[in-house]
Amino acid sequence: MFYIHQHSCISPQQTFPVSRIDELSDAVDKKLQVIEPSYEQIPPGMLRRMGKAVRIGVGAALPILKGLPAPDGIILGTANAGKEDCVKFLNQIIEYNEGMLTPLNFVQGTPNAIASQVGILTKNHGYNITHMHLGLAFEHVLTDADMQITENPSGLFLIGAVDDISVYNYYFEDKGGWYKKETVTGKQLYDSGTDGSVAGEAAAMFMVNGNRTGAAAKLIAINSLHHTDAEVMKKYLQQFIINHLPHGEKIDLLLSGENGDNRLRVFYDAAEEITGRETAIARFKHMSGEFPTATAMGLWLCCRFLQGDEIPGHMIKYSKPEKGLRNILIYNNYKGIQHSFILVAIP
């Protein structure tokens, strides 16, 4: 358990530097791409060398580090960051017959380029790590942060996740049938009745520690599961709630990672069944699109709602939570096998 203080998110919606999530931007060419800011805090000489994933990751991280003590660690998650530069580098090896290669793509072509660039820019020599376990990369970041703060309760950590749509990952995911063949608007995404979702990307960053004072939210518990059986997932989720939801309290909101993919519906239906009719349901993949670390944007939304932002109508699937939102459960499923359960509450 730890507390979330500052947070930021660069996403396909207007979330940075100010949040106007009631205005919905639709996908273009079946992709929900981030609205990039001007990156005033990144020196131009470094900015020109950054690929999109690095830009949005560093761009989201720097503002929330400003004015705070140096964090004891930087813990990020990504499934795909660096892949575009990595593939460019590999292509160069072939194109130039293993001859002279440029260093830039090599330097930028690793998933840890974001955490390391943040470390370099802020002269931070603390714990610096990138978790990359596809749809559970961000969940492992949360677990890592939880363990770090348990060991060092006064520690302050920058945590977050980044994934972008690159030419290469879009191609492979599309071929794999994970994106819809037809064009859908945000409002149509959940009712299309077809396989696949829309491609998405975002960077979300959080400053976390063990101190309740001034916190935006409290992360009560995080757990994950690898399984393809909805019944197993249901039992697991039920036990997760029994173990972690404070006695006598209810889940006020289920933030569902439902993504319009007909094949995954069974899992989201199961989550709704477990939380029951007393729990309001909201969805966010029509805002973020589908990508492995989308739950980071989900957690950022939870922080906003727990701090009093109204949940926009376009997110509501069932009921609207009463005033005094206390407990939010994020349930996400990645490709029918990776399940994520995050319980977050008011501090």
Partner: protein, 87 residues
């Protein structure tokens, strides 16, 4: 290719290879220093420029001291390209 055309082509390649944001090829002066003052390039850029010369003009620079004399400005680069290009 005459020298003026080669200079313009090289400036376009420098902007493209180094991803120089907000710099147009015509903004780069022929005698403007590429490193430090002037265009403000750094050591990673110098490697990118050596790769550029290799790929686009077939020039191999193996001695770093030689590179320092060539990568001074557009004029010195073009002078070297005209004398040593193999493609």
């Amino acid at each position: 290719m005459d020298t003026a055309t080669l200079k313009l082509q090289l400036k376009q390649q420098i902007v493209e290879f180094l991803n120089l944001l907000n710099v147009k090829p015509e903004d780069i002066k022929d005698d403007e220093p590429l490193f430090g003052e002037g265009l403000g390039l750094d050591s990673i850029d110098s490697i990118e420029l050596i790769v550029l010369l290799n790929r686009e003009y077939g020039i191999v620079i193996e001695d770093p001291k030689e590179g320092r004399k060539i990568l001074v400005n557009v004029n010195t680069m073009v002078d070297y390209i005209e004398k040593h290009r193999t493609k």
